[in-house]
Symmetry: C2
Subunit: 265 residues, 2 copies
């Protein structure tokens, strides 16, 4: 955790230090009940890497979900007539649609084979984040963690117990976005740091007050992690080193705009 | 530019190398007509930094816009009656609203004092990206570059002329987003690399074919840069070192979803 003194010094020098993104290769498959903290620490030891004070740990949700047993055998799912009809129209798997609907609290759009839902957590994404790629040949689906802030807090606590360091943890998933093509990573669970950096009222290097400057640093960290945690390699986690985060208890809810304040639902 | 050979080797090892984000502090104010390439190279020399083959240069639009003379004296703007009426209702500056409308080709939402437009480039953002903070005490407004892909290509060409290296350039701005709180950085101009990484049809580390995996790497790079190019420091640019980009002529248009395919306008 950056001390008040180092933060003062950094402000005085005015330039951010270099930031490093260090991928954590994980060769082990993750199974339900596995301790993710143990697996990650073993992977770090293998690469002669160490977590340091000031680091942030960023983890793709897939390994979190797997360790929490959020894998569903699609053979056990009986889709409703509605799911079957809609899936048939677009050559989709009705069981996945059924799961996506069960994992949602609202359907935002259902058009041209695209199903955008609001998950129980409040995330707006395709198919409630239900994933069938990469998991046991496609016969299983992987759900998001039930409470991804709690998952982040659990991992943070387990790491602290083992290495004595309280490291912020961010869990991420790739979502599509309105207006822009391509997926990017988003923070879906946070522990140990504030997800938003509020610079309103502070002064920039010219001495001018900043106006509308609330920055979603947790989402920017998630995107940065996405650059080293690609789907094509075995690095489902990474260390961010050199970012002056603001310690705090904030959860992912701070990143979710309430429907009443949203102009685009 | 990563060679085919190094790319083969990287695929074989399957783990991304470490990624570094190196801020470029710029103490000089940028004026219309300044060569951004010269200013950035001078700043790099001062820090004993060098651009290397494989680097990506990421630049906040503000210094690009300033060098291109996109600063507008608000005293020269005569707002329409419509702009005046709407601005008055929400205690806004009618001249800024007027500029935002002039810089737009469509208004998406105008509600509760928030004006979301589609710019001439096709960006969907608040006030067409017109910025009044940080610029000459607020009496001026700073517009986005007229053609931000061209701006990126110009900077890339100027750097190549000076140092003999063809470095991809990404120009960024902070935008708000539907559904999520806080601003993040977005790519608004790109030269020398593909903005999207299309992994569809490729196989992951388990040998499974990847399904919907088009990743907006240019936006993820923009976000990563946002972590070291904060508004509170004098680093309006940074180097990304260690990212295996795909060279190509792609521009920012590839990141913009056509209105006809968009479910949320």
């Amino acid at each position: 955790m950056p001390s008040a003194d180092s933060s003062r010094k950094a402000k005085a020098s005015r330039t951010s230090p270099e930031l490093r993104l260090i991928p954590i290769p994980l060769t082990d498959e993750i199974h339900p009940g596995d301790s993710l903290a143990d697996k990650l620490l073993a992977a770090l030891r293998q690469c002669r890497l160490h977590l340091q004070s000031g680091d942030i740990l960023i983890v793709k949700h897939k390994i979190v979900s797997k360790s929490e047993g959020r894998l569903v055998d699609l053979a056990t799912i009986n889709p409703s007539a509605e799911s079957i009809a809609w899936a048939k129209q677009y050559s989709l798997d009705a069981r996945v649609i059924e799961l996506a609907l069960r994992e949602s609290r609202a359907v935002l759009r259902r058009k041209n084979g695209v199903l955008i839902t609001e998950t129980h957590h409040g995330f707006l994404c395709a198919n409630s984040g239900v994933d069938v790629s990469n998991v046991n040949g496609g016969a299983h689906a992987l759900l998001l963690p039930e409470d991804s802030d709690r998952s982040a807090a659990n991992l943070r606590r387990a790491l602290k117990r083992r290495i004595g360091l309280a490291i912020p943890v961010i869990i991420t998933d790739s979502f599509g976005r309105p207006w822009r093509e391509g997926l990017t990573e988003f923070a879906i669970g946070i522990a140990g740091m504030k997800p938003l950096r509020d610079d309103r009222g502070r002064r920039d290097s010219h001495g001018y007050k900043l106006k509308a400057s609330v920055e979603a640093v947790a989402d920017e960290l998630a995107c940065a992690a996405g650059l080293v945690c690609g789907k094509l390699n075995r690095a489902p986690a990474c260390i961010v080193r050199g970012f002056r985060y603001e310690p705090g208890a904030g959860g992912v809810g701070e990143l979710l705009r309430p429907a009443s304040a949203d102009l685009f639902r």
